[in-house]
Symmetry: C2
Subunit: 505 residues, 2 copies
């Protein structure tokens, strides 16, 4: 097979996991660090996260939340309070046991000053924020308490992958307390709705919304809701979760309020989070064999301008033309901000520069050489078309249509991802068909994966576990919305609605 010329090798088809790592590296998003399991988020990746953070933060504030910041460390006894929670999070965490390094006998440093009580680097902050809530909330007038935190968290991971699973990652965690179960549950749904809107409108990534089965719930939660997206290898990726915690944490941590009637009641709490994992999701949803493709509404730069000096007598004139063009673009409004523009006048070969921006996924690239300048035009390439598909456009026309082009790209990316998911989702009513669909061809333990299967399901944990063992497939979510009742193809028992099965990250 003749290998196509692509910016990323191997291609998705050749080796999907390795393709992913190469996109992350070659798009300059992140790299492994010398600290086991921790990544370095490079400037391009950091800008993407800042843009995500900015949009989400605005959505959280618009829904009444305030940001606060809680300690990095959690005393060991806090984790011990909620039984399921401790099982879920005490297992693999970073434990601080000393508060000093001293010169040892051989001149190297050794830990000293042992702490009376070990501290855990927060894997999530329910326990430490719950302690604050127990002090902050006195009466029904203090409810609902709606708090969000942007922070780093640590979960010691044995097998890591940049953005998707790292020991340290950046995230936000919302924590709320309410007077009633209904209100808390409604809030759990509202915040999942915020995540779904963010994923679809900003990331151009279609998601299924639903609830998790018991085995996949957050430790200590009564109900975990999630958004699930299909990646280009047809596996599912959980992109965000919203948990209804009932009164579990409120009882373990004594979060109470005095009701209107003067009674002391336990609060009902929720928590919800998304993380830098979203960048991994964006890559696996939209990147291609030339690298990343940024959804315009989150792109760190919308347009990059590449001055091509060519055989010009007056290269400075070209650079001025480019800078002026950039200034004219930067004042154009685009969904509440302005266009971000880079002028790349580094002393590098034009082709090398061009491919760098292709790999980084900038939506629009403009080449400007002597002839373009003379004709008052630009030579445009769109990241969602072939790299060779370039067109000359009058400068004025480009300026008047550039935001439409970006919107077209944004909606095109979304539609393509929807079509991809639909073409790899199958409604299945027969256990044999299900097994056949998910079984890997002989000798191919890795992709191709089948996709999403929608089947009826009785809800029996043993059935789910057996399928997971046999095929490596789990229930990703029980989608919201109405459905016809039916029969579980695995147990023959009745089923209220269809669920979504898939291999997953």
């Amino acid at each position: 097979m003749a290998k196509p010329k692509t910016a990323i090798t191997p291609t998705r088809d050749e080796n999907y996991p390795e393709w992913y790592q190469q996109v992350v590296r070659r798009a300059d998003l992140a790299e492994p660090s010398p600290v086991r399991g921790c990544m370095i988020i490079k400037p391009w990746g950091c800008s993407l996260w800042e843009n995500m953070r900015g949009v989400l933060d605005g959505m959280f504030k618009a829904t009444g939340h305030k940001n606060a910041y809680f300690p990095l460390f959690i005393p060991k006894r806090f984790l011990e309070k909620e039984a399921e929670h401790v099982d879920g999070f005490a297992k693999e965490c970073a434990v601080v046991t000393h508060h000093r390094l001293e010169a040892g006998p051989d001149g190297t440093l050794v830990p000293a000053g042992e702490l009376e009580e070990p501290l855990v680097v927060r894997p999530t902050s329910e326990t430490i924020i719950g302690e604050a809530f127990s002090r902050w909330i006195e009466s029904y007038r203090d409810l609902p308490m709606l708090i969000n935190q942007w922070a780093n968290v640590v979960r010691w991971e044995m097998r890591t992958r940049l953005f998707l699973r790292t020991s340290e990652f950046l995230w936000q965690e919302g924590h709320t307390a309410h007077a009633t179960a209904d209100e808390a549950m409604a809030h759990t749904h509202k915040m999942l709705g915020v995540y779904a809107e963010f994923a679809e409108t900003f990331m151009a990534m279609p998601v299924l919304t639903g609830s998790k089965t018991a085995g996949e719930r957050f430790p200590g939660a009564i109900e975990t809701l999630c958004i699930e997206a299909m990646m280009q290898d047809r596996k599912a990726l959980q992109a965000g979760t919203s948990h209804f915690l009932g009164q579990n944490f409120a009882k373990a941590q004594d979060i109470t309020y005095q009701s209107d009637a003067g009674q002391l009641e336990h609060c009902w709490t929720t928590s919800w989070g998304v993380s830098t994992r979203l960048i991994g999701a964006m890559i696996m949803c939209h990147a291609d064999d030339d690298g990343l493709m940024c959804p315009p509404r989150l792109a760190p730069a919308h347009v990059v301008i590449l001055p091509i000096e060519g055989k010009s007598d007056n290269p400075e004139q070209i650079h001025n033309y480019c800078r002026k063009l950039a200034d004219d673009l930067r004042v154009l409004p685009y969904h509440g901000r302005h266009l971000e523009v880079e002028v790349d006048d580094r002393d590098l070969r034009g082709g090398e520069k061009n491919w760098q921006w292709v790999r980084r996924g900038v939506p629009i690239r403009l080449e400007v050489g002597p002839r373009d300048m003379e004709g008052d035009s630009v030579f445009m390439a769109r990241r969602d078309k072939s790299p060779k598909d370039k067109a000359s456009l009058p400068r004025a026309e480009f300026l008047s249509t550039v935001t439409d082009i970006l919107d077209d790209m944004q909606s095109g990316m979304f539609e393509r991802a929807v079509a991809f998911r639909e073409s790899h989702t199958r409604v299945i009513d027969d256990a044999a068909e299900f097994r056949e669909w998910f079984a890997s061809p002989a000798g191919e333990p890795t992709p191709p994966h089948a996709g999403f299967a929608m089947t009826h399901f009785c809800g029996d944990v043993a059935v789910e576990e057996q399928i997971a063992d046999e095929l490596g497939v789990t229930v990703r979510c029980i989608p919201f919305g109405d459905d016809e009742p039916g029969t579980c193809p695995f147990s023959g028992k009745p089923s209220a609605k269809r669920v979504v099965w898939a291999k997953s990250y």
Copy 2:
């Protein structure tokens, strides 16, 4: 003495350190946490930090820096590389030695999974960022490398005080690498200039800029520059530092580049940072006995509107009038953003609400009752005037002058702080006068402090130490700029210029 009615007790005069703690608590900025030395930054304090972060981030980007994110953990061997640095930072730090908690014999959790190499929670990131620079920088074309990180850091502190000195704090740390010493030194100065501009223009806090004496330098730095501000107890507070690291870290970490001429050279590096300590500085510069006073350009809210229902037949009408007023204010541009407005319609007594916003330091409070609504006017109080000094203003006049009022408040706060510093700064040429000025009156080991003394100084470390031991006073900075040479009043030796002495935080 009849105690004046103030929102904060004790007053500054009665007990300055306790007054400070009370302002922090009563303005809802932060509180101690159950984790030793770590604070909880509450929503009002968090908003202040977000505003500071937003402005500074823009200034860093405008000077060519990009944000990146590096691991929270630093391998022990990294700290061991730079000898002075290890002395400065290994002493009190959080050491991670295990990666798991397991159920112990008595059912509690015990640390398990000992790490081969202990990890330190970053006290600062020169070593881990230096490692990345050593890989990222190859040739002179990669220079200057201008990186900034927003992060949490941990330095185990024995005696802590909210915002001023906590074991965990939030900060930014800039790290840059350059081809020449001159360029790196110029950059060190440039970033100190950014800090000074931020302090004076946004925090309304006048600062002295200069360099530190050898004893006060950052561990591993060749030169440490600083901004120093006078607090209301006349002590100095170091509000930001910018370090010229020479080639110390570049040599310890092998940060090299190939020069234009093809030679392998070591880079010259800088680092610089400001932290949540700035919030402490803002409080101690501007707060009074009624609580915080926010500089308008950093205020989380510029205007709070308090609907006063009074004996109105139609309270809903008043609330509507207030909401409409808020909407009209929110579209007004104010220094690159728009006015932030709160409408406080909580079911609380008016006086209680009013004092809450006084303590939080919102620049302008508006009371709107039935009579104001009928007269289409507002009843305004400015935070920089007495709480009783309120005035009725036609609504239209208020809308057309509100941003001028805020600017007037911002410049008034700055001018008052400058006048305060000047009135407590003395040029001294005589050692006896110096001693007398700084000696505490008998039985008063705490304030009043004298202020800043400007004296000639020979630079002898032994002289500086002796004065520190005797009077608790140190050289806060050697100010930039020209000065007449003179004679050191302590040693009689020649001195190139005057330095600034003060008690300090």
